[in-house]
């Protein structure tokens, strides 16, 4: 039985065929199997090494999850894909186009083909829900206001918030704000959608809604999804391909089943949440009894 959600996704695909976006500088993306290639990436902040030698290929049209402990550089990786940070060595290519070498104008044109869901939602506080979702369409296209209105309503219907169009971001719950941000991230029907910790701080229902939305949007709209998360169960349930990062390196990569069956003790500790293992419970200290005896 078709749900309202399925009808909304069909509407979006219908409209995709019948209008085109005006782009200031079209950076054409080639049709490769790997839409994002990260090669020998190195990056440091001060004395702290974030990436030692990262090599990741993200396949087109799939959901790829990049996971790891807090502080392993997952969000930094997303910022490098989006060109917001420049690596110290190595490079990021999006459909064969090196991001670091792009001019400012070309980089902004490239970003129009990407959508990003920030951890905090990052909605514009002075705009309503409707205006937030309409914003990418208003600034990047020459569409008529009536058509923009229809698209915005479809996007909000797809995330279940069509009734909240007049609310301000301050009136939204955390989960609602994140769904509005998701609607805004897909407003331009991007080829790549990046999710920065989409499940963080969500209640079970909200988490389930987001998991379902990410999966269904990926299937229906055919874009490539990159999820940054350390929520194991939710991410493993939808990801086609998973990379686990730790200590500046990729320690495991593969399908969800391959990751679960990994022989690496570090991977098993991470995905099962063992308190002790390669990442020790105790911070390095002198002998316990010796210190007690003093």
């Amino acid at each position: 039985m078709l749900t309202d959600y399925d009808i909304a996704i069909t509407d979006i695909n219908y409209w995709k065929c019948y209008f085109s976006y005006k782009r200031t500088e079209d950076v054409s993306l080639s049709n490769t199997d790997n839409i994002i290639e990260i090669n020998h990436l190195e990056f440091s902040r001060g004395d702290r090494v974030i990436f030692k030698d990262i090599n990741i290929c993200i396949p087109k049209g799939k959901i790829t999850a990049v996971m790891g402990p807090s502080g392993s550089g997952k969000t930094t990786l997303l910022k490098m894909i989006g060109g917001q940070l420049t690596p110290d060595a190595g490079g990021v290519k999006v459909s064969g186009v090196p991001i670091a070498g792009l001019s400012r104008k070309a980089l902004f044109a490239m970003r129009k083909k990407m959508g990003m869901l920030f951890q905090s939602g990052a909605l514009f506080s002075e705009m309503s829900v409707f205006e937030n979702v309409a914003f990418p369409l208003q600034v990047n296209t020459d569409l008529e206001p009536s058509l923009i209105r229809d698209i915005v309503l479809m996007k909000l219907h797809a995330v279940g918030l069509r009734g909240a169009i007049d609310l301000m971001p301050s009136e939204l719950s955390g989960g609602m704000a994140r769904r509005v941000a998701l609607a805004r991230a897909i407003a331009l029907d991007p080829e790549i959608v990046m999710y920065d910790e989409p499940f963080a701080g969500q209640d079970p229902v909200g988490m389930g809604v987001l998991v379902t939305l990410i999966k269904k949007l990926n299937q229906s709209l055919g874009h490539t999804s990159v999820i940054i998360s350390h929520d194991i169960q939710e991410t493993l349930s939808i990801a086609d391909y998973i990379c686990i990062m730790a200590e500046g390196e990729v320690i495991a990569a593969g399908t969800a089943q391959e990751i679960k069956e990994s022989a690496s003790a570090q991977v098993q500790q991470f995905i099962n949440g063992y308190p002790d293992g390669p990442v020790p419970f105790h911070f390095p200290a002198q002998d316990y009894l010796a210190q007690l005896k003093g």
Binding site: K79, G82, Q84, R104, F108, A109, R111, K112, M114, G115, M116, F118, Q119, S120, A122, L123, F124, S125, F135, P136, V139, N140, A181, R184, L188
Partner: protein, 260 residues
């Protein structure tokens, strides 16, 4: 010894890099081609927030400063029998110095700190990053309208300050202290030159507007995205702007009215 030298070197390079980033921000915001569809609306909106909302404090401050000038001026000049020149004293003080400087200081405290806090909060809540990822240049969309609003508002506010201040001086001198109104206005008219006094005051206001707005926006963009970071940035905006205004005032006064 070498650690100390290394620290000095590191701090110097950091400061220089900061000046470089500030110059890049200014050049991008001024030189970047505006977005025809939205740039005028954004500018008008910022003119309201930055200029119109500062009007009350500028007007009230101008009135009181003009009144104090009239009172103090009369008190001093009456000893020399020159109380009829109080109009000249009030007008020249305001037009040449007090209007641009005090307006700029008030502008820095009211509008400058608000700009810094707004931009800093946008940075902390990742709104600037989300603008970048939507394909919109924050320097064109956010920074440029605010910069131009500051450039345009400051000289207008300065002139309003001067006009209201002259009225305040006239109110005190003529109505309360009994200075003959004909002398008050005629001496003022004869001594205030449009090009040497009024125009120079406007030029000062424009320069101060550029300085205050530039500092405010730079501090907002460079703020650490935490509540403490934003608080420190707004404080730096007011302090740095005030010092820069006073330093520039000396330089401009020396160039305009001195024999330098």
């Amino acid at each position: 010894m070498f650690d100390f030298l290394a620290l000095i070197g590191h701090q110097s390079i950091s400061k220089l890099a900061g000046f470089g980033r500030a110059a890049i921000i200014l050049s991008y915001a001024l030189v970047a081609w505006p977005e025809p569809k939205s740039s005028f609306k954004l500018l008008v909106k910022q003119l309201y927030h930055v200029g119109v909302k500062s009007l009350l404090i500028i007007a009230v401050s101008g009135l009181f400063i003009g009144m104090v000038l009239g009172l103090q001026g009369y008190t001093i000049l009456v000893d020399f029998g020159s109380e009829q020149s109080v109009g000249q004293m009030v007008a020249l003080s305001l037009v040449r110095e007090l209007a641009p400087v005090v307006t700029a200081l008030l502008f820095a405290g009211r509008a400058g700190s608000a700009l810094t806090a707004e931009i800093g909060l946008m940075k902390a809540t990742e709104q600037l990053a989300s603008l970048e990822m939507i394909g919109v240049d924050p320097l064109r969309r956010i920074v440029a309208p605010r910069l131009w609003a500051g450039f345009i508002s400051m000289p207008i506010l300065s002139m309003i300050f001067a006009v209201v201040g002259v009225y305040g001086g006239a109110l005190v001198s003529i109505e309360w202290l009994g200075v003959y109104s004909g002398s008050f206005w005629s001496v003022m008219q004869g001594s205030v030159d449009f090009y040497d006094d009024v125009l120079n005051g406007v030029i000062k206001a424009i320069v101060f507007g550029i300085a205050v707005t530039w500092v405010a926006l730079y501090q907002g963009l460079e703020s650490v995205p935490t509540s403490e970071g934003i608080s420190q940035s707004t404080t730096r905006t007011v302090v740095y702007s005030s010092l820069i205004i006073l330093a520039l005032d000396f330089v401009l006064t020396a160039l305009m009215f001195g024999d330098v």
